[in-house]
């Protein structure tokens, strides 16, 4: 079943990173094809005509889109390979889906605002919002090693790529996320001990460089 797996990705995307972590966890061999968002390939447009976005997993010629959906697909298509990326208990499974969805709806938006807003006041609002969201996640973490149940899974995979943003957020937002959310910081370190995570996520300073470059182009 390892045959014919292609991932359309863009190195900086947290969504692409989720998929790469999942593939690495399962030990699935695949061909990584880097897309340029400014110049999308015909293959991407054909495989994701609705959103025209990465990541897209192409398995035996058929596309799967939307990162959290792809991660679940990987778990199901390679169910015979351990580890499981979702709990077997239906209630914990539902929790995993809820939190993965929460990350999508709350973390991405509030984090982006920090480098996209101009003006001291707006940035303060954005910072407060992000910390609130991260604290809710800390609440869910509690004393557990991972976000849902006892094993690394979908919810952790959904959130961990954002840890790469912390350095940038701390610099641009003049904040200290690790100090405000120590349990989350510990969880980040725990996740980084997994090869699938440490080998997938770019170094934080690379992301910071990327954002600075992006800001420069916009004339900030």
């Amino acid at each position: 079943m390892d045959d014919d797996v292609i991932l359309l990705d863009f190195w900086v995307s947290v969504f692409g990173q989720r998929v790469r972590i999942a593939l690495a966890e399962k030990g699935v061999h695949y061909e990584n094809r880097e897309e340029n968002p400014q110049n999308k390939t015909p293959l991407l447009l054909e495989m994701n005509p609705v959103h025209k976005k990465i990541p897209v997993l192409i398995h035996q010629g058929k596309p799967v889109c939307e990162s959290n959906i792809i991660v679940q697909y990987i778990d199901e298509a390679w169910h015979d390979k351990s580890p499981s990326l979702l709990p077997s208990d239906p209630y914990l499974r539902a929790q995993a889906r809820f939190w993965a969805d929460f990350v999508d709806k709350k973390v991405y938006e509030s984090a982006k605002k920090i480098w996209m807003t101009e003006g001291e006041e707006d940035q303060q609002v954005a910072k407060k919002e992000l910390i609130e969201v991260l604290k809710v996640l800390e609440g869910q973490l509690g004393e557990k090693p991972y976000l849902v149940g006892e094993s690394f899974g979908l919810a952790d995979i959904a959130l961990i790529p954002f840890s790469m943003w912390f350095h940038t957020l701390n610099e641009i937002g003049k904040m200290n996320i690790e100090r405000e959310c120590p349990k989350l910081a510990a969880w980040v370190n725990r996740c980084m001990e997994r090869e699938s995570v440490s080998k997938t996520l770019p170094r934080p300073h690379k992301f910071y460089e990327f954002i600075l470059e992006m800001q420069k182009k916009k004339g900030h």
């Binding site: 398995h59 058929k62 889109c65 959906i69 697909y73 298509a77 209630y91 539902a94 969805d101």
Partner: protein, 223 residues
């Protein structure tokens, strides 16, 4: 029947007017699951609701044997995991991923774009164009599938996710006297909607037209 079914306690914190709540009710009905309906006054939320859903404070919330499950589509999948009869999601991983994709598309893109048309009083051309673009994508998908429902011969997760489009949208259009989905422009969606609202398991769960019309007229008025 599940071995522990006699002992199952299922409670749904609901608002009968909500299409999101209705998704869960349709799923419960499809699977013949007995449950207690706790109707919430959203202007005055119960302590129980706030306790079970402190993060979003919204309905629907399903409580199964004391465990709360949140978010309508998460709840529907949960019901499908626990009560395996009358499946709502396909078995095949690829088909399952496709169903989840379309359900998410409806939630993330279609419904917000449609709401915007009515909440902006249909004044902005761009907003209407955007909404029609999303509808066209669904129209094309139905055309491609060539079946009665997104789920084929029977309704599945996608049809359930699109319940707003099948029923509530039409009532919104009627209340505001603003038509988006015409038979000529969206023949497949129109046909699909008629089929969907006429399904027994769906029909029984829809709030009465009069109630929705009154609610929408009050909220949006004529456009």
């Amino acid at each position: 029947m599940r071995s522990s079914e006699m002992a199952d306690e299922v409670t749904l914190y609901a608002d009968g007017r909500s299409p999101f709540v209705c998704r869960v009710k349709i799923a419960l009905n499809m699977k013949g699951i007995k449950y207690k309906n706790m109707e919430e006054d959203l202007q005055n939320k119960s302590g129980a609701l706030l306790n079970y859903n402190p993060v979003h404070k919204k309905v629907p919330v399903l409580v199964h044997n004391g465990n709360p499950i949140l978010e309508s589509l998460v709840i529907v999948e949960y019901l499908d995991n626990v009560w395996e009869r009358v499946p709502i999601l396909p078995q095949d991983p690829y088909e399952k991923a496709a169903a989840r994709f379309w359900a998410k598309f409806i939630d993330d893109k279609c419904i917000p774009a449609l709401y915007k048309v009515f909440s902006s009083k249909g004044e902005e051309e761009q907003v209407i164009t955007e909404a029609c673009e999303q509808l066209q994508i669904l129209e094309d998908e139905l055309e491609l599938k060539g079946k009665k429902f997104f789920g084929g011969d029977n309704i599945n997760l996608v049809d359930i996710a699109a319940d707003f489009i099948a029923y509530w949208l039409q009532l919104l259009e009627e209340a505001t006297e603003m038509k988006l989905v015409t038979r000529s422009k969206f023949p497949k969606i129109t046909e699909w909607a008629e089929g969907f609202v006429n399904c027994q398991v769906v029909k029984e769960m829809l709030p009465p037209r009069a109630i929705m019309l009154a609610y929408y007229k009050n909220r949006f008025g004529k456009i």
